[in-house]
């Protein structure tokens, strides 16, 4: 046998370390479809508990929408379950191309290519577009999948302080010698829910002759008046060269991602992006459902409007109750607690109250910035949000943090 005692004890010890550092992630079993209200078995073997879900990326509440589920069924009936192939051998159906075209129309881009996930899109795109004489200039808080994608690319890496335009400009000056430069940012940053300054970024890109890539995974479908994304929200439609985004959040939430943008770059991805070339095609069920999602959100903005109203209501009420919330307009509403244990304890108590939220601490967020990240959805009704606010208030009182700002919470609980 090759799995020796030495190997077994080494990997076992690694797991113990993860546990002792408080970084061990436990999965909770959900025994119902994804929705505002879900049945959860946690811990394993415990009776199922009905809780309100405030930690899903189900921003538009489309994950279990009847029309989306029906479209998935039709996809299964008319195009089958799997294709047993990558795209370029025999894994491209007519509906794959339809979805790519619909995504281009929706995002306002020239062309789109589907990937198995946005992680794959980010893993593939940089290495295709840039080479060693080029530069990647990235915001320091970009998503982990972008960091991994950039590691796979030979281009020189520069990074700038989060959303700091003066620092970005400095990096653009420093990298002046490079052939092509790509500014890389998330549209919305997933831990703070803050929005990239895309208007200023585009202006700098034009001034210094750089391209712009935005990962819009936490925006596509609901940011901007028509929900096209951060580029619509910031008034820079048509000025972003590459958008990477996901079908796994607002757009039905199953899986799949894409690169969308300048047609030559998209075509190059089709020819050369390794995660595209060597991953199986997206199953027809998901493709058919995603087409329906794009149809639904192109027809009416009702869902993104409801999400916006829910977000404003929750943020306003929670601020009035005395919680320290990162300001903003995004449905990611971070309730700042600073102390990691406090965030974990409050999340646990909220779960007991029937509110499913997660506490985040270092290294997922910077040291001393632990928080509970609340995510609103168009699936939430006003009464769901009121229940969450009431539970938060009760638990906030228990821990005596209402009305307290950063320094006072740190004084009470430490960092």
């Amino acid at each position: 046998m090759v799995y020796s005692d030495k190997a077994k004890s080494y990997f076992g010890e690694t797991l113990n370390q993860i546990q002792s550092q408080g970084l061990f992630k436990e999965e909770r079993f959900i025994c119902s479809p994804q929705a505002a209200s879900i049945d959860v078995e946690y811990p394993q073997g415990a009776p199922q508990k009905k809780v309100l879900n405030f930690c899903a990326n189900n921003y538009l509440g489309l994950s279990s929408h009847p029309e989306v589920v029906q479209a998935a069924r039709e996809g299964l009936d008319t195009r089958g379950y799997g294709l047993s192939s990558v795209r370029f051998i025999c894994g491209t159906q007519d509906i794959h191309r339809t979805l790519e075209q619909k995504l281009s129309e929706f995002l306002g881009t020239e062309d789109t290519i589907l990937f198995a996930s946005c992680m794959d899109a980010n893993a593939g795109v940089f290495d295709v577009v840039l080479d060693k004489e080029d530069a990647m200039i990235a915001d320091r808080l970009v998503h982990a999948s972008i960091v991994d994608g950039m590691r796979l690319c030979k281009a020189q890496l520069f990074n700038y302080k989060h959303s700091n335009m003066a620092h970005l400009e400095e990096k653009l000056r420093e990298s002046q010698e490079c052939r092509f430069r790509l500014i890389i940012t998330d549209g919305v940053f997933s831990m703070d829910g803050d929005i990239a300054k895309l208007d200023e970024i585009c202006n700098l890109a034009e001034k210094y002759d750089a391209m712009v890539l935005v990962d819009d995974s936490h925006s596509t479908g609901f940011m901007g008046k028509h929900g096209r994304g951060t580029h619509e929200h910031c008034g820079v439609l048509g000025r972003i060269d590459l958008i990477t985004t996901t079908l796994g959040k607002a757009l039905g939430g199953a899986s799949g991602g894409c690169v969308s943008g300048r047609k030559e770059l998209v075509e190059l991805c089709r020819q050369r992006a390794r995660p595209y070339l060597f991953s199986n095609t997206i199953p027809p069920v998901i493709v058919a459902a995603a087409i329906k999602v794009i149809e639904l959100i192109s027809k009416t903005t009702d869902r993104r409007d409801k999400l916006e109203a829910n977000t404003l209501y929750f943020r306003k009420e929670m601020t009035q109750r005395g919680f320290d919330i990162r300001e903003g307009v995004h449905p990611i509403a971070p309730i700042m607690l600073y102390n990691a244990k406090l965030a974990q304890d409050m999340a646990r108590d909220l779960y007991a109250e029937g509110i499913y939220v997660i506490g985040f601490a270092f290294p997922v967020v910077p040291q001393g910035q632990a928080r509970i990240r609340v995510q609103l959805s168009a699936a939430h009704e006003r009464e769901d949000i009121d229940k969450a606010i009431a539970a938060f208030t009760k638990i906030g009182q228990k821990y005596n943090i209402l009305g307290k700002k950063k320094d006072e919470i740190i004084k009470l609980y430490g960092l």
């Binding site: 320091r140 960091v147 020189q156 890496l157 990074n159 302080k161 270092f362 040291q367």
Partner: protein, 85 residues
């Protein structure tokens, strides 16, 4: 070892990684990676700065989070590549 080299690195770290309004102090012993001042992704700009400044090439396998975790550790690393420190 000349203190001004330490000071140059400290100044760079403050300028490059701390917010303008930050009151955090950085000394030669401050933990940079462990404390989260410099994350492993941003470490690359620190490596580039050192390479340019001292005209050296630090191989990737030497540029570990431990080697970059304090200004003192960085100085130790630099000594492997240059007489200047």
């Amino acid at each position: 070892m000349p203190d001004d080299i330490k000071q140059t690195i400290i100044e760079y770290i403050k300028k490059e990684y701390l917010d303008e309004d930050s009151t955090d102090e950085v000394t030669e012993n401050t933990q940079l990676i462990t404390s989260g001042i410099v994350d492993s992704f941003s470490m690359v700009s620190l490596k580039m700065f050192l390479e340019k400044k001292f005209n050296i090439k630090i191989p990737d396998e030497k540029a570990t989070p431990e080697a970059f975790d304090s200004v003192n550790n960085i100085i130790k690393l630099l000594k492997e590549f240059t007489q200047e420190v």
